[in-house]
Symmetry: D2
Subunit: 340 residues, 4 copies
């Protein structure tokens, strides 16, 4: 299938590689033309240097896939729209907020341009493992693009079949690693929740490993003062837990086996003390939006919210609140802060 | 290797099956003798009907593996000790609290009996997948028992190798799915934290799916009264999310792929509405102990605690607290409770 | 001062009473005219039956205070604007979301109409105790209305002075119980956060009383099964705590004394079992918006969020998530739900 | 009433002052005798320099009140017991864990010595405001000591009466600010929960003020990169909130008025930036025990737990967990940590 790709960062370029390998003809456009040319040389894709040229190389109905930062999406769409014709298809494969998808789809529909939102998971591993794709948009348009999605997806063999799905008459592409989730915005909505879950899963492992890391605190001598809660039973905390081996261990046969655990095992194998990291944990939108959506729905999401807030705290954003606490303690008990 | 197994419930019986298949000679004892006999017939293991007979069939140093409810462990040990000799090995493979392991190991050491604690994960799937084993005890004793652990374990092939462990000179059984984690109690400590993490992971998925489940609330008409927070943008919640397909989708290429997700996909494939369940979620000790251990260590575990408390709430144990809230609202605002 | 009041529900009517008692001339308008007439008869205020009549009774610059449900505010403003003149002042004293204040202030400014947002706390007690008022808007306009705010406010005597404020040269009305917090929206922003805090405070008491309520569970006999975590030390939970007396006790000299505790003591005095309440706890917007604002700011608010989510759960909105948990437990462990 | 007081730190000394002023004869003992002498000179109490002398000055049944660090209590009791006679009364007014009370009461009962546990709240303010006392022990013994408790307590006038208690036939000392809560341990149990609630209340205010503090972030220019979630609506965050005035404001007529708010207003009046504090917030036992008790009871306490964990985090104890998160993000997305 012929398709245009705008945005050749790590994600976009890898998608082009996977698509070309899958036999598709990909037309490239990138802010810096050298990137397009290098990638075209590598993959057999077609490099272009201007948007009109880029559009000109596509056939009706044109498919243009945007793989650019969310902040640049609206501006790029504004530049593209005058070059597009009724029936053309715009795909946002970036990390847009699903509200924006709903707004864009409505605006583009007035010009008879179709809009498809694709949330993709897989990160830097997607080239090799394939991209898990969560898709929102009109049914026929999504079906029309099926060959693209199928090539990008991990494919059926990426996981053992779910036995309970065996007898299904209604086929679903879910087992191939891509899915039409609903109308405009549904793709990024599902991706948003996916990332919200990801925050919660990560926090669960992080807290658990932290408890294991501190399982030997009974061996240290402890200050006895009014500002330090004493350890009643130091004899219960005498362990030097081999975190790297425990992460590896749990990958086999345990209930907590997961891809995130695989990655943790990799990082802990490299350095069980994780000395290269400072513990300032960024968050990037979807986690926030997930909790906000839960609140709007009136649905409890305390674990996802707590995981999100722990990241904010790691960024130093609890500091003033903590000062309030110290100030109150000073006020009612004359407590001075303990210096570490 | 010859070993005795006491307790032939689902877990114990399956372990015997796996051990016999692996060439070990297992002597059986169970409260109801018929169970031992049936299992002996099936597996070639040796059934016994009295504890003295059971002990008599084992060779020095005897290995006795207990696979019984935690509440019955101390009493069974008390009955066994007079029958054992110095050098013999008692293994607790159940769900003991690790404090009990520390206490027992100390008491048994006075009689020169060795104590080994083994936390096992794998549930009803262990027979087929193997048991992930987290082991605490003396190094030589654990090494002596290596053939048993190896047979029970899932084995190296159960997961792809972690590339970062490739060059290791120090070998570890972690890659086979069992691990000596430290002295007495270390096995159940690691298992405890494993289950604590499990609670957090499960809650993350549960909250996420709940958000997806409610993504269509904008389509319902909403009561406008002072007791109901209005939905500002119903147009943002218009989705009928196919939960079964989304769970299946995420199994391939996504960051949240895990064994727990595989199981969720199975259950949702069977019935996306999960009508067979009421949502009263039990908790069984380890989740509680994990949070308590975090508190004693002074280590934050808000996600694991929140997940645990959500289970308590599902059991109805927030009810009086909720009445307090309603009573306060009544007192300051004259608010009456809304009837659903 | 002459001022018009639209909306004579419980809050609006009580404000009129307090204002009339304070010597102000209040012009009334209400959807049902009978309410205006009754209140006029009681208070000496001026009843009107049409909006033009209502507006006609006010002097330039007119002050119109809206005390109506947030959902009806925009529509009412639309009906008022054609009747108002440049320089007139519209006050929203209801529970508007502060985003709406910002929008309205901007739109009304084009017509040279001033907009003031006033968040009020005090509930059904305001008539007697006075209304704590958090005010947003232009400085001169807020100052112009000072006599109104002062009359509504609780006044300086409502709390002992804060000694640390003694030497202040810059005077503040904060000590009188009303405050100009900033430009449009600042009033409702502060009120929003106030309510967010309120949710957290209430939850802290509710959880604490629930722990006290259950301090005697060691005396009950407990089921021993795999689905129920056993109580290790029943002898630690043998108390029948007199909740009504404890709430009363804490009102004097303790660190947790507060108005919310006073109210709890009242409700528990009436019935320590709170049998009149079911524990379905409504939430009404501000708590949600507070957490959403925290998320947008990137500021952690785990306690406020957790308190909010506990209300959602009390409304039954965790149910599907809980079913997911039970389904997973069934899948990996064969666990069936325990029936209570 | 004659009573002995051991431990003349800030709390103990102030209690002696209040008791002497109330007409009681207090015999003093302290590790450093000079403290006793100075206090005796100031208050008219009786200084002693040895425990036998101290005990000798008391009349049967002797009452000995311990006001010493929890860690020193058992040792002091061991030294006292040989000097005491059947019928004597030992009072622990410190911050003991209630499990210790239960154990001590049982052990002392064998020697016919009575044990009373008194949790006290009031901190450095107790001398002036009186001490809120939560009492555990045998009914007759507690009644015998009533004059002591009454003198220490804040007294009925410390808070307005609760109208709903008006018609009560059963009198309670709760309205005087002290209460016999139940058998041994009940006093410290209630004090424990009191402090757990205190943590939750404090966190609610701290989070709220932090949100207000950051209400102007829309005015700062923000980095746009993949590691920073963008602020979608900077125009919604343009406020410079006067935190000191807002805290003062809420003291009058608002729902969140409380003693902790009074203290916050004091501290913020002194310096709204709280520059003297670093935000390292200690925790001192009761908060931990409250959450642990909730877990044992199977009662949800997510707000109290979250508040506790936020303190642990402020002490730097989330650090390794945060490194795990950064390591995972690096592994799946190639994300490097952002340097502030």
């Amino acid at each position: 299938m012929r398709m245009g790709m705008i945005g050749l960062g790590r994600m976009g370029a890898n998608m082009v590689r996977r698509l070309c390998k899958g036999g598709h003809e990909i037309v490239l456009f990138n802010r810096t033309a050298a990137t397009s040319e290098a990638l075209a040389k590598e993959t057999g894709a077609i490099a272009t240097t201007t948007l009109p040229d880029f559009i000109g190389r596509l056939q009706s109905p044109r498919i243009v896939w945007l793989m650019i930062p969310a902040a640049a999406t609206d501006e790029t769409i504004d530049r593209l729209v005058p070059l597009l014709s009724p029936g053309d298809i715009l795909v946002d494969g970036g990390n847009s907020f699903y509200h924006d998808d709903i707004r864009r789809a409505r605006a583009l529909a007035e010009k008879k341009i179709h809009y498809v939102d694709v949330g993709t998971s897989g990160g830097v591993w997607g080239l090799e493992r394939g991209y898990c794709q969560m898709i929102g948009g009109e049914t026929e348009i999504v079906q029309h693009m099926d060959p693209i999605f199928r090539t990008l997806a991990p494919g059926r063999a990426a996981a053992p079949p779910t036995p309970e799905r065996a007898g299904r008459t209604k086929k679903s592409t879910a087992e191939d690693g891509y899915l039409h989730c609903g109308p405009a915005g549904a793709g990024h909505f599902v991706k948003m929740v996916h990332n919200g879950i990801e925050y919660g899963l990560m926090a669960a492992y992080a807290e658990g490993f932290n408890i294991l890391k501190n399982a030997g605190i009974g061996k240290a001598s402890h200050t006895v003062d009014a500002e330090t809660a004493p350890l009643r039973h130091p004899e219960h905390f005498v362990y030097d837990m081999p975190l790297d081996d425990i992460a590896e261990l749990w990958r086999r046969g345990s209930v907590v086996a997961s891809w995130l655990l695989d990655l943790s095992a990799s990082e802990l194998a490299r350095d069980p003390s994780l000395a290269a990291f400072k513990g300032r944990v960024s968050d990037s939108g979807e986690g926030r939006w997930t909790v906000a959506a839960a609140i709007e729905e009136g649905v409890p999401a305390p674990v996802l919210a707590t995981a999100l807030f722990a990241r904010f705290t790691s960024q130093g954003h609890a500091d003033f609140g903590d000062k309030i606490l110290s100030a109150m303690r000073h006020a009612f008990g004359g407590h001075l802060e303990k210096t570490p």
